[in-house]
Each structure stands twice: as C-alpha cells, then as structure tokens.
Amino acid sequence: MVVKQTVNIDSCKALTRENMATNRAASKRKLEKVEQNGKNNALTAQNGAEESDEEDYLQTISDVDSSDQEGDQSGSDESEGELENIDEDNTEDSSDADSEEGENESDDGEEEDDSDVEEEDENEEENDSEDKSDLEWESDASSEDDAENLLKNVKKVTKTKVKSQDSTLATESNESASEEHLDPSKSINSKDSKDSNVQGTSKDEYESGDTSDEEDIRNTVGNIPMNWYDEYPHLGYDWDGKPIMKPKTGDTLDFFLKRMEDPNFFRTVKDPQTGQDVVLSDRDVELIKRLQSGQIPDAAFDDTAPWVEYFTSDVMKTPLRKFPEHKRSFLPSKSEAAKVSKYVHALKMGWMKTRSELAEEQRKKREKNFYMLWGADDNSVEEMRRIENHLPAPKRHLPGHAESYNPPAEYLLDKEELRQWKKCQETPWKRKIHFVPQKYKSLREVPSYPRYIRERFLRCLDLYMCPRALKMKLMIEPEDLVPKLPSPRDLQPFPTTMSMVYEGHTDMVRCITVDPKGQFMISGSDDLTIKVWEVSTGRCLRTINVGGVVRSVCWCPNQALSIVAVAADRKLLLINPGVGDSLVIAKTDLLLKEEPEDSSVIPERVKAAVQWEQAKDEEWASGIRVVINHFKEIKQVTWHGRGDYFATVMPEGIHRSVVIHQLSKRRSQVPFSRSKGLVQCVLFHPVQPMLFVATQRNIRVYDLLKQEMVKKLSTLSRWVSSMAIHPGGDNLLVGTYDRKMMWFDLDLSTSPYQTLRLHGTAVRGVAYHKRYPLFASGSDDRSVIVSHGMVYNDLLKNPLIVPLKRLQYHEPNNDFGIFDVIFHPTQPWVFSAGSDKTIRLYS
C-alpha cells in the first residue's frame, strides 16, 4: 500500500515536472500516463492546469475529466447504496470518492491523504518559484523533504482523530471532512476530488506567506450575495463553466443526529461559496475564542511589554536639527487664513454648510413636514408680544388699616357689624371685608393666619386664570367713517347766504321759474296769482290773477318766445309775462293771437281730457294768451328743451295722467294708454327725445321716437316728489317725500348711484344748475341744501357729490317748508319758494 502511494507520489512529481516544462509533447505523454494512472493523476493534472494557464492543455484535461466523471458517476451509482448513511455531510464529489475507495481501510485513506498533501506542498513550492523559468531537481528534492515532514504531522493528527472516532463511523469521509476544516478557504478543489488531496495543503498556506491570491476561487460567480442562488440547485460555476451543485442538506433529524454524535459539530461552519461544511481547526477556534474574549488575537503578542518611547514629548535641550526654525513656522499661515476666511464667509452666507448642518438638512428632508394648522406660523409673534405688550399680573389688593394687627377703633367691628358679617356666612362675597379685624397688643401676639394657605392659593389662581389677551379698544371717530371729500372752500362758488327776499304773495308760494336770461322770475302761489319779479332788486313787476291755485309754472326755454306755462287748477295757461325783449313779446302775441288751422281729427280720448281755448279779451289783457282746459287738476307742467312741446301731469287722470301738448299746432296727445301708477311728475330729456315719468316708486324712461320704455329706475322709496335732470342728460336727481334724495347715474345702473338723506323731512323740490356743478334740494324743514355735484366727462369717473351748505331762512308758517327750488340760469344763485309766502334768493 505504501509502495503504491509512493508510486503515486512519484507520478505526481513527474507530472509536476512536466507541468513546469509546459511542453506540449510532454503533456501528451502525461495524458497517456494519466489515462493509465486513473483519476488520481487526472486530478493532479488538473491541479497543474490550474497553475499553468495553458488553455489547450486545460481543454484536454477537461475532456478527460468529463470522460472520467462519467465513469465515476456510474461507479458511484453502484456504491451509493452502501455508503448513504455514512457520509451525509460530504459533497457529492467526496461521496463519489468515498464510494470508490470506501472499501479501503482507513489507513490506506490516510496515506493517500498524506501523499496528497505532500503533492500540494510541492505545488505550492512551484507556485512560489513560478517566475523562474527552470526548475531544478534539487529544489524539488528539498520540497520532497518538506512534504514528508508535513506528511508525518498530518498523519499524527489524523491518527488521533481516528482514535477518538467511533469505529463504525470512522470512515474516510469523516477524515476528509476533518481535514477540510483545516482550511475552509481551500476545502475542496474540484467536484471530482475523489482523493480530496488538496485539503491537506491548507496548513501550509500561511507558512508560505502568501495568502492574497489564495482565495477560494473555485466558484467563479465572484463576490456576490450568495442568496441569489437560493432558488437554484447550484451555487455558481466552476472554472469549466459547470454549475457547482449545492450539497445535500439533511433534514432536521440528520441535523439532530449530527449534533448529538459529531464531536466536531461545534466547529463546523458552512462555506457560503460552496455550500459545504467546513470544520474549523483548533487554531481557528482558539483565534475566535480570543477575539470573542476581547484579547489580542495573536497569542504571541505581549501586551505587557515595556513601552519604548521613540519620540518623547520632552523638549530636548539641543534641537534635532541644526538650523533654527524658520520664522514662518511661528506665524499663522496667510494662505491658510485666507482659505479659512473664505470658508467662514461661505458658511456665513450659507454657500457652504458644515457637516452637522448638512446632516440636519438631510434629516429634515427625510422627516415629514408638519404645518401648524391652527397656530400662528411662528412663535416669534407670541414671544414678541410678551415683550412688547407685556401683560402685568393682576395687582394684589393692598392691605389697609383694617388688616393691621392694631387697627384704629373705627375699623373694629361692633356687634351689629359683626352680626351682619356673620349673617353672610353662605355668601361671603357679599361681605365688605372678608375677615374680622382684630386688635392685638403687640405683633408678637398675632396668631398664625388660618386663611394663609387659602389666600395664597387664590392668588395663584388669580395669576393662573388672568386673561392672557389684551383687550383691544378700537376707537373709531365718526368722522373717520365719512369718506374724504374736498373742502367746500375749494368748491366755490356756491350760494352761502340769503341775499334777497321776494315778498308780495299773500299765500304759500308753490312754484317758481326763472327766465332763460336770469333777469326775471315768476312765482305761482296759492293766492291764485302769479307774480313777475326782477331778480336783482326783488321788485315785483307784475301780478297776474290766474283764477286758480298755481301748482306749477314753467318758463318756455325758447328765447324767441315770451311764454310762461302756468298750471292753475284744471287750466293750463300760456301767459305772456310781458317782460324782457319787447320785440319778442310782440312777436309772441302775434303768434298766439290767431288759432292755427287744425284739420286733424282729435281722438275722443284726448278731446275728453284736454281742450285748447283762446284767451278771452279780459284774460288777454292780463297776459293770458291760451287756455288749455284739462279734465283733472294739473300738478305739473314742464317744457321740452326746444320750447314747442310741453307736458302736463294730472295725478288723478289715471290712464290719461300725462298729456303732451304741442304749442305750434295747438294739439295734445295722451302718450300712455295705461297708467303704471300714480304719476307724480314727468321730465323731458334735455337733448334726446326721451321722457322720464315718475310714479310713486319708480321712474320709467320712455323713448318718444320708438314709443317704448327704455329703462325703469327703482327708487326704493315710497313716494317720489320731484325730479331734475342734469343738463348733460346722464344724471337724474329725484326727491322723495320720505326724506331722501337720490342721484341716478343713468349710464351706471337703474338703482340710485347715491342716496342722500340730508333733510329731516319730505323733500319737495330738487334742481340742477345749468352751468355750475351744483344741485339743491328744498324740503319741508324749511331748508335748502346746496350740494356740489360734479359730473365728469370721463365715463370711468363717478360723479362727485359733496353737500355744501344748508340754507334755512324761511320762516315757519305751517307744516310745509319749501315747495320749490330753482337755480339762476347763469349765476350760482338759488331760489326757494316757501310756505311763508316769500321767495328767497341765496347767493
């Protein structure tokens, strides 16, 4: 057996030698040998192949291998049945090897192993001297000696193992396993390592002093997580590209048995690269133990050896160097300072961040952001409030004389007071003082205060319950709420004082009108007369009896005619006042003297309502030229801007309450077939053919050409009294009996642009000035209020309305105050007709 082994070894040697020679011919020859010598040789050959990088050769070997393997497989199949329960932990390869040499005695196996080890050593030797082109036999011989030494060692080890092993289980497999663990990294070289000769070599690995290249590279998958192969039956690929199959894993029973029976179980670990079990050597175990116990792994290291201080901290008397230190070594480096300042600046500006800041940022980024939904965004507000709006703690009630230990006598309670005090037992808050003042001779005699704790507690409560909010007192002056308006001083001229009183009427003056030039004024009164006044002097020039209560007068705007329309009860009189241009007066008389031929048929509906009539002689003498009889009382008469048409209003006329008359043709028409309400007043648009009809609550705007309603203005008031239209025609002023005055911007909306509640009582008259931006209103409170009402040409600019002056000069007469207001056509003067029988002029 021994001989055989040596032969084996020799053959190995020979092989190795040939290996080194890397001669193709030799390799061929060797191949032949391998074939002769069987698997053992083949393995060696492969070993050699590993060392040399000759592909061709490798190829051949692998070919051989594969053929061998097949043979092996067949062989192993036969023997498996016998060996199954013996070598469970072994890999397939080893099991194959076992199966082939299972019958061999353990000694034999050992010998084989030894030889393997030796051979490996040789290999190692050769590896070391790889660079050398030639290998000498001498060196080989020396290595042979080494190998033999080693062999002995191994033998010794194995023998001891064998002794300890159970006889039945002391198989080669166990041995191989025990040898495997000697070097886990080099446990098994190939799957067909039947003789597992490599395992023995691990011992030499560290001795050879080179470990870095000796990593287990049987598995070629590289440094990857091995769990990638969890799902596969193999563990990776060997150098030949063949999958490395996972070793069989036993079930729990096997595991248990092994744990119970295998004395090396505790030092058996699994190699993740190959999946095989590796039994750690004693040295490894010891190393691990040392590591675990926190000792220095190297047992040989003497950690208690005396410390040799190579460089001392002591300043030596003579410098180490001959020359003195350079000056700059004492000075701080300028470039470094510049760099540092640069960094500091960058840090300050936030361009650069310290590691802690970056970490903080990272942390913040990772963290979820939470937002204060109900709280303030930042606490600084609250913090600042504590400083700025400091809330002082509630003050303590200062002790008075009653609290004194020696109060004056008047503070001491007498009997009655004491009884009173005690009566309030249930309602202590009703007591004047919450304690009974008591007198002591000296402070020393004052007993401890029984309510002390209680009072302290209450004080604490006071502090705790003190409202933490400042009571904000909002002081709003009423003036602040009023929009800023220009000062009346800047809006001059406007009437500021009464300048003239026109006295003469014997009853209330209901209506006034001023001639287009502004020289004369006509007033109509309840004393059944109209009076013609000279504006500048207050002189009454004429008085014309009209035989009825004059409710409305209106001067014809046509300056070529001298006509005033006077509404006296049911009659409308066209009167030539006889003032002004005598030529015009004469012409007017001439014009009105003759009734024009009227061929048109007047509808019955109109005829019933209105009849034109030439003035009788006595009437003519008094200035009346034409009489238009109406069927109801006329409340208002108004001229169209041209002076040919005029409209009369009879509020009781129901469906025929508005009549439009044409002077030139002496014709009348009733424009509205159905009344929409009680018509209060009507008004012609100054430039467009439009008619404003005010009922009690609404104002309707009719287009006279198209004969349709254009607009309906809602006043939101109960009873409209009067209307005035701005000379521009886009703004309407409406006075109502419910004390309001409304300014409508017709372009803006159908509801009032502004509602003025300036008067305390019903507004009876409103008027616009023709030239100045003024409007005025007269009411039953006997006051005229003059306001500035600027209308801008810019359509985007709303009218500016500023109440300017209240003029209250009329004397109280009855419940009425002012009936009518009208502006002078050219001057900033306003007239008011009052119930005190006077007309007043304000300038």
Binding site: S499, Q519, E534, T537, G538, L541, S582, L583, Q827, S843
Partner: protein
C-alpha cells in the same frame, strides 16, 4: 409778569405829522403807552395845539398809522402790521371828517332806482316809469312820465341856469334824452335812443358831455351822441304850468314828437348784463357786468382795452378821476377797490366790508380821493375812507328798505334813493379842497 407789564404799560415813541398846516405841532417824538387809542391821542394832540396857540378850539382828529386809520389800541394795529415797537412811529393826523347832516327826505310814489345830482338839481328815476326833478332844498319841480318801464338810470348831460338836459334809461329798452327848460319848467324828450334789445341798466355821460354810453341786459354797450342838433327844429310843446301847485306834471308827447336816435357805436364783448358803465376819460369807458368781469373799452377805436375778472357779478362801479381807481359793488357784501391800470399782482387792492347784504351802488367823492359812499340792500348808506377798510366813517341812516342808488356828484350832497320810495339827502360839511369850492360856485 414782566411781559404783561410790558404789554400793559409799555411805551412806544410816536411822532405827529400832518398835512394840514394850521394844525402843525413840533416834530418831536413822544413816548406814549402802547395801548393808546385814538381818543387819547386826540386829547394829547389838542393839548399840544393849545400850548402853541391859545386861540384854537379843540378839534377832533383821525390818526393814520401805517396808512390805516387807528380804530383800535395802537399796539394791536402795530402787531397786526408787524411794526417794531422800538421804532419811532409816525402818526399822521387829519381833521376828522365832520358828521354828515341829514338834510332832506324826498318822498316818491315808487321805488327810486336812480338818482343824479348836478349843482342844485336832483334828478331821480322811479319804478313807476317816471322821472322827477327836485331842487336841493327839497322842492319837487317836475314829474316826467315817458318811459313805459321802470327807469333804471338817469344822468345829467348838461345844466345851465336856464336850460338843462339829461338822459334816462329804462326797462322799456330805450334811453331818452330830455331837455328841460328851467325857467318855464317844461321838459321835452328830444331823442329816444333805440337799439337795445333788452332792458337797459346804466348810462353814463362823458366828461365833456358829448357822448353817452348805455348798457343793459342785451350785453351790448352802446355809445350815443348827446347832441340835440337834429331836434332843435322840433319845437317843444310841453307846457310848463308853473301856476300849478307843487307837483307839476309835464305833458310830453314824446313818441310822436321826439326823434329816434341810433347808436354811433355798439361794443360787444360782455357775456351777461352790463350793470354799470363809467367814462374814465373822454374816450375811455369802463364797464362792469354780471359775467364777473370789468372791462376797459376804447370808445374811439371801439375795442376792449383790458379785462379784469372777479369772483362775483358786479352790480355797480365808480371811477375816481382823483386817484384813478375803481370801486365796485358786487353780489356779496364787499366793496372792492380795483386799479384798472395794473394787471399784475392781486387785482383787488382793498376790500371794504361792513354791509350785510348785497351792495347795490357805490360812488366816489369828486373832491376827496379817499372818500366814497355806498348803498346796499341792508338799507344802509355808508361813508367810507379808503384807508379804513374795516369800518366805515359814518353810517348815513335813514332808509328803511333796500338802497338802490347813491350819488355824490355834488360834493356837498350825498344823495341816496331806495325801495322805501324816498331819496335821502345828507349834507357833507367837509369841503376843504378846490373842487368843492368849484362845485359850490357852480351851484351858486
């Protein structure tokens, strides 16, 4: 304490000056209390005068400090004018204007809207379309109907002891030129001046009585000649019934007999009624209008010379040939003094405020460059000195209704007419200057 003492008993140094030589005092500064008023100054000055000459009786003086009458304690005025108390203050004194004496009250049938005095004759125009001629003694000489509308202005054109001519304007759009024969107390309408389209408001005759100008509500200023040559042939048929008692009514068939006169010039420019017109020169006119302007016209060339805009409608104006300035009455209670020659700076040189209603009429004195009278709707006639803008010199009481016209053409008589249907005459006793004597001479 010290300061109050100072203000209370502080002294100022004053020096009396005067332009009236008979009242001259030595040119020495006097230390007087700062709070001295005009009465105390008056006493002091009289004492000084008596020192020099014992024969003089006490005279009342007015004191002018900084060109203004002293109507309050001296220190108040000085503070107001920002004058240092440490300087010697010149106090000019003038003999106080003697109080005008109410002389007569001429009763009319209707409102008196116009009055003009020439020598001893008072011509008035009434709202009952009549003109009246009164003597200075208050006797009614003539009632002249003729107008068909209220008379708004009258003016004497010429007056000789035997014959006088005058013009009147009225609401009936005409101006009438009348000739009055004093001896047989007959009056003729020589010319009816037609051309205005609306009521006339004012008339003015130029200084040499050759031209007259009228203005009215038709905004036109028309210039007419006053010559009566055309009508010399037209015999005056008016009968002067001197036998009749006091009120004499001239019978005038004006329309049939008088000739119609047309204007020689029509000046257009005002936008509203012309309220008054005055000749500032023989060929220069000034007008005031309701359109808030004063205009200066050249009657020769027929154009506007200059224009001054005011804030209110003007109702009347008066031009003084002595100081060449104009006072105006407008639609407020102020009288304003304008200088038509200056166009820069503030146009209103001075404002006189004491009336409480519209001032209707103003008139400069023809003899004193500082004095004027004004009549207003508050039924007051006030005599003003232009150096005393806050308070008038005298209030000529008497009227019970609106004063509509004042006249001071004769320096001896201040005449005013009003809505109380009276003309009130105040006698001005102050006639020191040459003009006054002239006037008196004329009158005589």
């Amino acid at each position: 304490m010290a300061s109050t003492q100072e203000s209370g008993t502080g002294q100022v140094q004053i020096r009396f000056t005067t332009k009236q030589e008979q009242y001259a005092v030595p040119d020495l500064p006097f230390a007087v209390p700062a709070g001295i008023n005009s009465n105390e100054l008056n006493v002091l000055l009289n004492e000084l005068l008596k020192e020099g000459r014992s024969d003089i009786t006490s005279v009342d003086f007015d004191f002018l400090v900084c060109g203004e009458f002293l109507r309050q304690p001296l220190n108040d005025l000085l503070e107001e004018r920002n004058v240092s108390f440490e300087d010697v203050i010149d106090v000019e004194y003038v003999e106080q204007h003697p109080t005008p004496e109410p002389m007569d009250c001429l009763m009319h049938d209707d409102w008196v809207s116009a009055v003009h005095v020439r020598n001893g004759w008072i011509l008035t125009g009434c709202y009952d379309n009549t003109l009246h001629i009164w003597s200075k003694t208050g006797t009614h000489h003539l009632t002249i109907p003729g107008h068909s509308g209220p008379v708004k202005a009258v003016a004497w054109v010429s007056l000789t002891p035997t014959v006088g001519s005058f013009v009147s304007v009225s609401h009936d759009q005409t101006a009438m030129l009348w000739k009055w024969n004093i001896e047989d107390n007959s009056v003729d309408c020589i010319h009816v001046c037609r051309g205005h389209e609306r009521s006339l408001e004012c008339v003015s005759v130029n200084h040499n009585s050759t031209l007259m100008a009228t203005g009215g509500w038709d905004t036109l200023l028309k210039i007419w000649t006053t010559s009566m040559l055309d009508t010399s042939s037209a015999a005056s048929h008016s009968t002067g019934d001197s036998d009749e008692t006091e009120i004499k009514r001239a019978k005038v068939e004006s329309n049939s007999k008088s000739h119609i006169k047309t204007p020689i010039m029509t000046l257009k420019g005002h936008k509203e009624a012309i309220s008054s017109v005055v000749w500032t020169d023989n060929q220069e006119l000034a007008t005031s209008s309701w359109d808030h302007t004063l205009r200066l016209w050249d009657a020769e060339l027929g154009g506007i010379k200059s224009e001054i805009a005011g804030n209110k409608s003007f109702f009347d104006m008066s031009h003084s040939s002595l100081n060449r300035t104009v006072i105006t009455a407008s639609a407020d209670r102020h009288i304003r003094l304008y200088d038509l020659r200056s166009t820069e700076g503030s146009l209103v040189k001075s404002t006189f405020t004491s009336h409480s209603q519209w001032v209707q009429s103003v008139k400069w004195s023809t003899t004193d460059e500082h004095l004027f009278i004004s009549g207003a709707h508050d039924s007051q006639v006030l005599l003003w000195d232009s150096r005393s803008p806050k308070a008038p010199l005298f209030n000529l009481e008497g009227h019970e209704d609106k004063v509509m016209c004042v006249d001071w053409s004769n320096p001896r008589y201040m005449v005013s007419g009003g809505a109380d249907k009276t003309v009130r005459i105040f006698k001005s006793r102050h006639a020191p200057s040459k003009n006054g004597t002239e006037g008196e001479k004329e009158e005589l």
